[in-house]
Amino acid sequence: MKTFYGVELDSALMLGTALYPSPAIMAQAFDASKASVATVSLRRENSGGQAFREWLQTLNVRLLPNTAGCYSVKEAVTTAHMARELFDTTWIKLEVIGQSDTLQPDPFGLVDAARILCDEGFDVFPYTTEDLVLAERLVEVGCRVLMPWGAPIGSGLGLNNPYGLRSLRHYFPDIPLVVDAGIGLPSHAAQAMELGYDAILLNTAVAKAGDPVAMAKAFALAVEAGQTAYQASPMEPRDMASPSTPVIGKAWL
């Protein structure tokens, strides 16, 4: 498995901490998911923040703070600075949002913010589209992980552009790639892993399932299945049938 800024992760699942029915269910879902990374955010202080932080410290996972909801380079960079101090990590999931209906990244702001943060020593995990040229720019400014979306955040639509994601995989064989956003079902996660992706980042598909703990387990199995399948070199598909049972030796009847 590739390393994420020098860190080898035990599992290819990264799980968000938002939208769960209760903190207890979130804790059980994390156990069931075997996630190696938890995404977190920063919001205006209220009494809930401290309790959440204490709970995070009991989780045996790496924290990946995000800049969710930032629409400008300055907001994203300031949020990253605050996250680095508060969570004591150089990891940052960089989101610079360009459009409020689709929550798709602003590619221009994303590259600008990534350049600033990489220069300042952050380990940037950019939430991006599957655009190859944008991905190249992000690598040029110092990103060593790319996180293309599968579909809009929270939509559960799966991999909208498998061709684009496959191209990205072939084009960047050595950069860890994570499908971040849009995953709705374990089969979507398995599909991304079968394409050779290194990890999956999801939140809503588990948190908003009727039984988040069972769904977390289903995702853990799917990610492992997809990863193992990729490593096993899948067969090439073909248009015409090819008998699997030997033709020679069939009885003449």
Partner: protein
């Protein structure tokens, strides 16, 4: 003086950022701070003086995706 604390106009007596956190009973809490959109590291809060109508943001860890 009046400042904007997390978006709300508020009358405070504190004259520096660390004094403001004490006034709000947030001393020692896991929070990060920004004034007028610029990050103020923990180590610089004492020397960060506040002026009328400053926008002070104090954030804490929260759930996120």
């Amino acid at each position: 003086m009046k400042i904007f604390y997390n978006g709300e106009l508020m009358e405070v007596t504190a004259e520096s950022l660390d004094a403001l956190l004490r006034e709000l009973n947030l001393e020692g809490q896991a929070v990060a701070t920004a004034v007028n959109g610029d990050f103020v590291p923990r180590s610089l809060r004492a020397e960060k003086l506040l002026i009328e109508n400053d926008h002070v943001e104090v954030v804490a860890p929260m759930q996120g995706g």
